[in-house]
Amino acid sequence: MKKWLFGLLVLLLLTGLLVSGCPAEDVTPDPDPDPDPNDVPVDVEQDLVIAIGAEPESLDSLLMNSAPAATVSEHMIETLIYLDVDGTLQPSLAESWEPTEDGLAWDLSLRQGVTFHDGEPFNAEAVKYNLDRFMAYGDFEGQTAAIYAFLLGEVNEFEVIDEYTLRLHLNQEFAPIISHLSHSFVGMHSPASLGALGEDEVLEAPVGTGAFKIVSWDRGERIVMERNEDYWGGAPELETVTFVFVPEAGSRVIMLETGEAHAIMAVPPTEIDRLEAEADIDVVFEDSVRVIYIGFNLEDERFNDVRVRQALNHAVDKEAIIATIFQGVGSPSSAPVVPAVFGYTQVGPYEYNPELAMELLAEAGFEDGFDIELFHPTGRYPQDSTVIEAVQAMFAEVGVNASLTTYDWGTYLDTVIVPPEQAEHDLYMLGWGTVTLDADYGLYALHHSTQWPPRNNVSYYANDEVDALLDEARVTPDTAVREALYAEAIQLIWDDAPWVYLHNEGQVNAVRSNVHGLIHHPLENILAWDAYIE
């Protein structure tokens, strides 16, 4: 009897220990299980938290498709070339680049002595592996190429010259190749980590060469990264960087004010004045390279008539949207790309004129207007659903009744970037940042007829003349000629109006004043490798 009681007691005690012990271990993981006695204690914990609106849809180079993915990825997965805040191309994993004499190949000299987070060496073979995979060349032939494979579309072979030299063979001269190599999605993963991926396995833990290494990714919640002590550029000050995903802008502001987050992206315009008045918070204004637009589903026959498309452009009061909803941050679209982009020509904005819009609609045979399904994301772009509600009201004033369908970002991309026969929407809202600062990227990917979904010409736009101009401009080395070609293409696209052009975004971020060194990039990235907490 006593033995029996004793046994039960021990069992209870053990269970109690297990139950009480487990969560405690989970909640506070010891960052340094083997403390070095020589370690100097730091005054402030260097754990930075950044709240952003949308979660990366993936961190795999093949599948990434948004600025939030680029922002997170840049901390771990580096590119060969880095596009600096001022728009210059800086050496990163490639130290220098040189065209061959005929201009039909480029030699990249790679940085030496770099290792991936898993200890694998970084060399020309590793780069070839990544780029072959990106383009579905060589060993990857027959597999699906990256969504952004068009970036390197003119490259037909990646050749290893020696351990640290890689040659890119081009079909023809291709002007934007170096800018394209700076794109966040052309990142260098450890080949071993990619090779270990199963057939249908999704990349959850990217292994790169960057300043930070992944710790964990809780879907829908956060991504935690820790300092890479062996970073070739010198280990960062920060111990950890955490990106938390908070679609609600108001909640992000509260997190910043309570100190739960050190930095937030996309401050709601109505909060700017209040935050600027707070002593321990800095509001940061930065340009953006992103245009926001509402695209037509051009396979819908009601939109075949260009007058209908132009009418809806005239129906939207862009100035009022900027003034009211954005408190003056941003500007109405004056071309399909923002002014900072090479190749930009001012052709707009479309004048706000509801009477003209109604006339055009009547001419096209829609005196009584029509009903449309307008799809839009929420939490992705600043004030996205508010803008859409305003547009809905403006459309209604010219007789076009839009019913709205709202999606979160991940679902949204899968819903609208679909082949025409699967499209449920008549119009859709999207934005596009020309992150290479070269018009090729902004125009080709969205308007060339070869770029229909799953790529990014979501409007199913096809114009032979535009195709020809874009094709020619991307292989013309002479910058003046290129500019002229883009000017012509932009005018054609603008008059065709495959989109309702809305606005060029402006960025408003906010940071607690004790955080220094954060980079607010015009590409809508917030980068933490030089940051520290005071």
Binding site: A323, A393, T405
Partner: protein, 300 residues
């Protein structure tokens, strides 16, 4: 006077005033209950607002006016303007139409489905009862709003679907309630008598059993309307209910959140509207429960 005809007359005369007294008793009892009357008055006010909304305000609930976006309450816009310059007061007035419609229609749907199922299940018993009740058990295991979210996810967002979803989510409650009442009523002598007379099952259920289950159904419906309005506001808040530009209170709350520091009138007043409408139904329901229960009437 005591001939056969006269007797029948007397009986029929007796019955008519008796029914009147029943109703009157309920009303008398209800009238004495101050909280219930407060609830009733609130609801009557909301009903009048819903019907006469266009006469109360000269503004339009969806007409934007960018120049006056986020204006604070003023003489012309007594509850201020929203982010598109729409009059907040007007939107709340029109919102009562949506909330009342959702409450009434969804409860009707729930009743039309739940009451017959519960009645049949209770009356016939046996395997049929067990089968139905296990299905209801499964449904009850989900919180109502979760069940409604599942239904909306299947049907798609929008007001009509919210009504259906909330209606379906309230079916289990009615089924349980009616089954319980039917179980107790069907053991009564007059039911046995009706059966002995060879009256058909359908007639027995409709004419003899259901009238005696009416009280609990009425009380439950009053509470259920309150719940339905809350669920619908919850769905609206999550973006699954009414879609812009419809002025649905839950949606207004959620959209107004980001302005809560600078323009709190966008969240405070729709919130109060939801509070008062739900409170009204709950108070009335409480009063009705007391008034319809003969025992509580006698002892008071």
């Amino acid at each position: 006077m005591f001939n056969e005809k006269g007797q029948v007359d007397a009986v029929s005369k007796l019955q008519t005033p008796k029914r009147d007294t029943e109703l009157r008793q309920v009303w008398r009892h209800l009238r004495r209950n101050r909280m219930a009357m407060a609830g009733l008055i609130v609801l009557v006010i909301f009903l009048l607002i819903a019907i006469f909304a266009p006469f109360i305000t000269q503004h339009d609930p969806i007409q934007r006016d960018f120049g006056r976006a986020l204006d604070l309450p003023s003489e012309e816009h007594i509850l201020g303007n929203d982010w598109l310059g729409r009059d907040n007061f007007t939107r709340i007035l029109y919102g009562s139409r949506i909330s009342l419609a959702i409450g009434l229609i969804s409860v009707t749907i729930g009743m039309l489905l739940g009451v017959p199922i519960g009645a049949l299940s209770g009356y016939y018993g046996g395997r049929f009862d067990i089968l139905i009740q296990r299905v209801i058990d499964i449904l009850i295991a989900f919180p109502g709003i979760l069940l409604a979210i599942v239904v909306v996810a299947i049907l798609g967002v929008g007001i009509e679907n919210v009504m259906i979803a909330v209606g379906i989510a309230s079916v289990p409650i009615y089924t349980r309630l009616v089954r319980g009442s039917v179980l107790s009523v069907k053991e009564q002598g007059y039911v046995a008598a009706a059966k002995a007379l060879g009256i058909g099952d359908a007639r027995i259920i409709i004419r003899h059993i259901m009238p005696n289950c009416l009280g609990p159904i009425i009380v439950q419906s009053t509470f259920q309307i309150a719940t339905a309005i809350l669920w619908a506001a919850g769905l609206g808040f999550l973006g699954l209910g009414a879609q812009p530009p419809d002025p649905e209170w839950g949606r207004m709350l959620s959209d107004g959140r980001q302005y809560i520091r600078t323009a709190h009138h966008l969240t405070t007043y729709p919130g109060l509207a939801i509070l008062f409408m739900v409170l009204g139904f709950n108070l009335l329901g409480d009063g009705l429960r007391d008034a319809l229960d003969p025992r509580s009437r006698k002892y008071k």
